[in-house]
């Protein structure tokens, strides 16, 4: 049987204990609650799981997959929430978490080279000990892959200062879908992994592609000196436009904060309440705005705080903060920012039987206050707390715009209802020019309806050129 041949070959490559076709072992690789699938109703199921530990082993696995025409789906910790690492067409699940070396931390040129199995927690631990930090996302758990999150356009906790995580990739080493090893960025020319530019850029061939164009085996990322003085503060508004247009965007323009975010009342309180969430008390603000500031000296931090206070006073005097509300100080917030990755961030199981999902997008900031009431209306219609968070990326043109909620993961009918709601939310976001990140198949299908034909053609050409046998994570983005 072909499956016996493939399993034997995989075990020959990685050793018997690191490859299996066992049905029970494959179960947790088949679902993703954020992707609205469950163990009993999987989104797809692989036929093999293999855990290589070297680049050479990955090359051999990919070559084998080409010979046997078997799909390969790379996965690290499976916490991406969009179901993007669930094998839709069977084949080999390439579990990369054993490739977990931090290969280099270069404190002269301020970059680090990591393998895909390096988790956020591992990276934070290493950098913390050296007085550095990296913009790790606030929401994903500590056992998420740094490399995967960068490839899938994650948002870090000082994104307002430095942009989306995918902007930070200095260089990659990648096993191509046909098994050859390639590099992108300065590391293609020397062992100095310092930058992506000024050469013809090939790194984009692997960013946002959900593992369809190769397996990234090494990545260089910039690292930043960790400012010892940090604070986060929050205040409330009853009006989305005031919160976003009169507060977040003009303050972001001053380039003072390392994080400028906002959340609706439900999002802000999502961890406090058991299911179902109560109505917002009238005295509570409709939206919370958070600013995180940092400094290398106390004076620097105090100076930034003064600029923020002055800004708030100026806006108030100008009559731009008519719905402004003081909110109690939240020492927790500073601690959360200081201690990212925070294991508490995804606490959803207080909701009836535990699920949690989202529709996350990158959307122009000007559209947020217009789209938000529409999103609220949809979520309320589906009896879901209207829960949205937004974070400005570097500059003030756009940012993360994400609805998130809990649901009953044991109720398939409710999951289907949530899926319908998610589609409605995405369509509103698309109307406002937003694009879904870490898109599951239903999300990319909706987006492709609107895509420029030339974009689709180019994607098809790239995919065909790089992956002639279509073995890498097939079935995504219409490819």
């Amino acid at each position: 049987m072909k499956s016996d041949v493939v399993l034997k070959a995989l075990q020959d490559i990685v050793g018997e204990e690191w490859a299996t076709s066992d049905e029970a072992t494959l179960v947790p690789y088949s679902y993703d609650i954020g992707g609205l699938s469950t163990p009993s109703r999987p989104a797809g199921r692989g036929e093999f799981v293999v855990m290589p530990q070297t680049v050479e082993q990955i090359q051999e696995i990919i070559k084998l997959a080409n010979i046997e025409k078997v799909p390969v789906t790379p996965i690290v910790f499976g916490s991406n929430m969009g179901g993007v690492a669930i094998p839709l067409e069977g084949g080999i699940v390439l579990d990369l978490h054993r490739m977990n070396k931090i290969i280099e931390v270069n404190e002269v040129d301020n970059y680090a080279i990591v393998e895909p199995g390096v988790s956020m927690g591992m990276f934070e631990r290493e950098l913390r000990g050296r007085g550095y930090w990296f913009p790790l996302p606030m929401s994903p758990p500590n056992a998420s892959s740094v490399v995967a999150n960068l490839l899938l356009t994650g948002i870090g906790h000082f994104a307002s200062k430095i942009g989306c995580q995918s902007d930070l990739i200095n260089g990659v080493e990648v096993v191509l879908p046909t098994g050859e090893l390639a590099r992108g960025g300065s590391c293609a020319f020397s062992e100095h992994w310092h930058s992506r530019y000024p050469i013809p850029d090939v790194i984009g061939l692997f960013v946002g592609w959900q593992g369809m164009t190769g397996v990234v085996t090494k990545m260089s990322v910039p690292i930043f000196k960790r400012p010892p003085y940090q604070m986060s503060t929050g205040f409330g508004f009853d009006d989305y436009t005031e919160a976003i247009m009169n507060c977040m965007i003009p303050f972001q323009a001053r380039d003072i904060a390392h994080d400028v975010s906002a959340a609706t009342w439900s999002f802000h309180n999502i961890q406090k309440f058991k299911h179902p969430m109560p109505e917002r008390p009238k005295e509570d603000p409709k939206m919370y705005v958070y600013m995180s500031l940092c400094g290398f000296t106390e004076e620097e931090l105090n100076f930034k705080k003064k600029i923020l206070d002055d800004f708030l006073n100026t806006q108030k005097k100008a009559g731009l903060f008519t719905s402004y509300k003081e909110v109690p100080p939240s020492p927790d917030l500073t601690e959360i920012i200081r201690n990212i990755p925070n294991p508490r961030s995804f606490k959803f199981s207080d909701f009836k039987r535990g699920g949690g999902a989202w529709v996350g997008s990158i959307t122009a900031a000007s559209q947020w206050p217009i789209a938000l009431p529409k999103l609220d209306e949809i979520m309320i219609k589906y009896d879901v707390p209207p829960s949205t968070r937004c974070t400005l990326l570097k500059g003030s043109n756009c940012g993360m715009f994400r609805c998130r909620w809990g649901y009953d993961s044991g109720n398939w009918d409710e999951i289907q209802r949530i899926l319908e709601m998610s589609k409605e939310l995405l369509r509103v976001i698309l109307e406002h020019g937003g694009l879904m990140y870490k898109a599951p198949v239903w999300g990319s299908d909706i987006m492709l309806e609107k895509a420029h034909p030339g974009y689709k053609l180019l994607m098809q050409k790239i995919k065909k050129m790089l992956d002639p046998n279509n073995i890498m994570n097939p079935g995504r983005w219409g490819l």
């Binding site: 204990e17 690191w18 299996t20 066992d22 049905e23 029970a24 072992t25 494959l26 179960v27 947790p28 690789y29 679902y31 993703d32 609650i33 954020g34 469950t38 163990p39 009993s40 799981v49 855990m51 910790f77 499976g78 916490s79 929430m81 579990d95 978490h97 054993r98 988790s119 927690g121 591992m122 934070e124 631990r125 758990p141 500590n142 056992a143 998420s144 201690n339 990755p341 925070n342 294991p343 508490r344 995804f346 606490k347 959803f348 199981s349 207080d350 909701f351 039987r353 535990g354 699920g355 949690g356 809990g406 009953d408 993961s409 044991g410």
Partner: protein, 400 residues
């Protein structure tokens, strides 16, 4: 017993398996140290072997989508029930997972898929009252020539347990403890051939019926002998007798032996004068530490020993990394062998701490870590000693 975990089957957890939401994998990592926590996941590597994966298996099984198999049995029984995932998990799943795992094990046994070694151990317990396949009348043979009396109304019953009775390393711990207690003039006795297993690992294996039977046998025996205070060698026995036995009519006081040693030091009944010039790392056993929150007593005992320098481990107290011997793994042996065996991972961490001795307070930890030292060829650099052995070294010249 009403509402006891022992009354629950896997069907009772049908709603709770969904509480492991989001596939966050926090269960595998201590935060904010960001160090690995799960022994089975470290050894086997597949998602399936972590608390997260097991919840998925159980959900699929309960939905009728996945049959019980030998592999599923290995996956479910490889968990050492060490409780580290409960420290890490931020979801409500942590309040249910270990009980659910035990219930699933019960289901697996009932369906005839128990690991072979476990089947043998359970048969032996049913037949002889111990998992070693040795007739019960031989249980007390280790004490031949040891200065210890059979229990007959002394202040304490020293419950030696299976490892203390049958394993050479466990026997050595028992002997050294007896030596210390004798020097301090403690009134105590043992049950010898009448002792039977405490059943803690039987419960861990999901054999709740046998566990209840063993509890009833022990409670009846202890009552018949007039036992008022029990001191246990193993934290596993301590956990069982402290937390489960009272529901079955046990009215005796139970302490782990480190509590008694600490009291003896504080009351001046043991005087520690000889220096033990060693760097000692203390390995917290799961069932004294995480499950009964006693992290300080053994450390107080160690700190009382002159010359001894206590060094910290990266993972300790509630974030201690399990040796892999719990959760009936001392019967199944599923977590031993290979570079990724939890005991070997742990011993490498202890080596890197600069310690030359690792102090233990559990005979299973002693067995697991001593084997790991041999596997890592560290015999010249590192030794495992029970706290009572270290105490004896210091007390040897002045007591008695």
């Amino acid at each position: 017993m009403a509402n006891s975990v022992l009354d629950k089957t896997i069907q009772d957890f049908k709603e709770d398996v969904y509480r492991c939401s989001f596939e966050c994998f926090n269960c595998t990592t201590f935060s904010p140290e960001f160090l690995p926590s799960c022994p089975a996941y470290e050894k086997y590597g597949y998602f399936t072997y972590a608390s997260r994966g097991r919840s998925g298996l159980m959900e699929a099984y309960l939905a009728g989508r996945l049959p019980i198999s030998e592999k599923m049995s290995e996956i479910m029984f490889s968990c050492s029930l060490c409780g580290a995932c409960r420290v890490c998990c931020q979801q409500d799943w942590k309040d249910y997972n270990i009980e659910a795992f035990m219930a699933m094990r019960g289901e697996i046994i009932e369906k005839g898929f128990a690991p072979a070694k476990l089947r043998d151990a359970l048969k032996s317990i049913q037949k002889y009252g111990n998992p070693y396949g040795v007739p019960g009348e031989k249980r007390g043979e280790w004490a031949t020539g040891v200065d210890v009396k059979e229990y007959s109304g002394q202040e304490y019953l020293l419950y030696v347990g299976d490892e203390g009775s049958f394993d050479v390393k466990g026997q050595n711990i028992a002997k050294s403890l007896i030596n210390v207690l004798n020097k301090a003039g403690v009134s105590f006795g043992i049950l010898g051939k009448d002792e039977i297993t405490d059943g803690h690992e039987v419960k861990a294996a999901g054999e709740f019926g046998l566990y209840e039977y063993l509890i009833e046998q022990n409670v009846e025996l202890f009552k018949k002998r007039g036992v008022k205070k029990v001191v246990t060698l193993s934290p596993h026995a301590y956990n069982a007798m402290k937390n489960d036995y009272p529901q079955y009519g046990a009215d005796f006081e139970v302490i782990h032996y480190t509590t008694l040693l600490n009291d003896l030091i504080k009351s001046g009944k043991i005087k520690l004068t000889s220096k033990v010039e060693s760097k000692v790392a203390y390995h917290d056993p799961c069932y004294l530490g995480r499950f009964n929150e006693d992290y300080d007593t053994p450390r107080e005992v160690l700190r009382a020993i002159p010359g001894l320098e206590l060094v910290n481990l990266l993972r300790e107290r509630d974030k201690s990394f399990c040796c892999g011997g719990g959760g009936a793994n001392s019967y199944t042996d599923l977590l031993s062998g290979g570079d990724n065996a939890p005991s070997r991972i742990r011993i490498r961490e202890i080596r890197d701490s600069g310690a030359d001795i690792v102090a233990v307070t559990c005979p299973i930890c002693m067995i697991m870590l001593e084997d790991a030292i041999k596997a890592e060829s560290l015999e010249d650099k590192l030794a495992v000693k029970d706290v009572s052995e270290l105490l004896l070294q210091s007390a040897a010249c002045c007591c008695g």
